[in-house]
Symmetry: C2
Subunit: 217 residues, 2 copies
């Protein structure tokens, strides 16, 4: 039964959720908020939706690029190199990004009579990104239920999984991860040096997936 909207970036996590829950996903929404890598990842989001025959729309949120500050955003400071740990990745936080994207998707679900909004936040995000934590998604779920006539719910099935766990799901589903984008720098190829590239490489390795990603380093 098609009852859900997926917030789909085109990265490893949400692409896995797209395949895993494809029977339930009526619509996938990608948000272009002016990050360095939005164009790269959204192209992959569109590709997978076309493969699966799932409606895909891109929503521009230009105000984030125009007003917010984060190394993830075009024209702001450089994305740091190194591991995916707090000190290093803190500058990549886009304030309340998941709150903004989930809220837009909740409105869209209510408008279309759909019951669920899915988001592929995962356990590895909790330290750095407060809007990926269980307390946040639980509160957004309560806000969605209270704030809509249809009692929309927020589903975050990967909240307590690691990225390697998610990659294992993808392996079982036969997903071609070379057609996903992680690098926060948004160059021609994955840089291989930023925290997200390192995290991606490690997850694919732990899941025993041959990594066909082209890395610049």
């Amino acid at each position: 039964m098609k009852d859900s909207i997926l917030v789909l970036s085109g990265g490893l996590d949400s692409t896995t959720m797209l395949y895993e829950y494809r029977e339930r996903i009526a619509l996938a929404v990608s948000f272009n908020y002016g990050s360095n890598h939005n164009t790269k990842e959204i192209a992959f989001a569109r590709y997978h939706c076309e493969q699966l025959g799932i409606e895909h729309i891109e929503i521009p949120l230009a105000f984030i690029r125009d007003w917010f500050h984060s190394s993830l955003l075009q024209g702001d400071k450089a994305v740091p190199e190194g591991n995916y740990d707090e000190d290093n990745m803190r500058s990549t936080v886009v304030p309340f990004r998941n709150g903004i994207m989930i809220s837009a998707a909740i409105g869209m679900a209510e408008d279309r009579g759909l019951k669920y909004v899915m988001l592929a936040n995962h356990g590895g995000d909790h330290t750095i990104y407060p809007d990926c934590r269980p307390a946040f998604v639980d509160a957004m779920d309560a806000a969605a239920q209270a704030g809509t006539w249809n009692g929309v719910r927020v589903l975050c099935q990967y909240t307590n999984l690691t990225k390697a766990d998610i990659a294992r799901h993808g392996k079982a589903l036969g997903i071609d991860y070379s057609k996903t984008w992680s690098c926060y720098r948004g160059g021609e190829h994955h840089c291989g040096k930023c925290g997200t590239c390192r995290e991606r490489r490690e997850a694919l390795q732990l899941a025993g997936i041959e990594d066909k990603t082209i890395y610049e380093n």
Copy 2:
């Protein structure tokens, strides 16, 4: 102490909040989501911020007009006439509009190191607009706290007031309500027939304020 962002439409309620909490409001944000009356009300929002020397920004949310369905939105069906009751006003709901606007303001507050987001929802909105109810604003407050590093809070000081109560606050503050906009039709003058015009007229009357609004009827 300037510690807050106000979601300011330029209507009676949020304009009153702007004056009442002007010592605390560092920034007022108006959202242009493509309603019939956005242009009219945002002009008043800007006017009052200029009067008070408070920074004001307008954020476009074109995706709401492009994708959502509501008689409030340009190009959609007509705004109904008659009283401000459920059957009549249900078509004016813009799904999860407050969730979307509050989330954007939470992100903005986090970005600027501000602690509070203020919204002027009130008791008269509860029947028709689920994203004005106490359960909704409480959940958004929890989401803001959990989803930001600074523990941003959502403040809705008028949640349990009537519109007439708010007008009484405005009377004490000496606000010129002829420089606010309520009519959902967004014509040259207030139509005087839609539910919002009727509610506005009644509130001003109950508060004992001479109503200088020009109504078409």
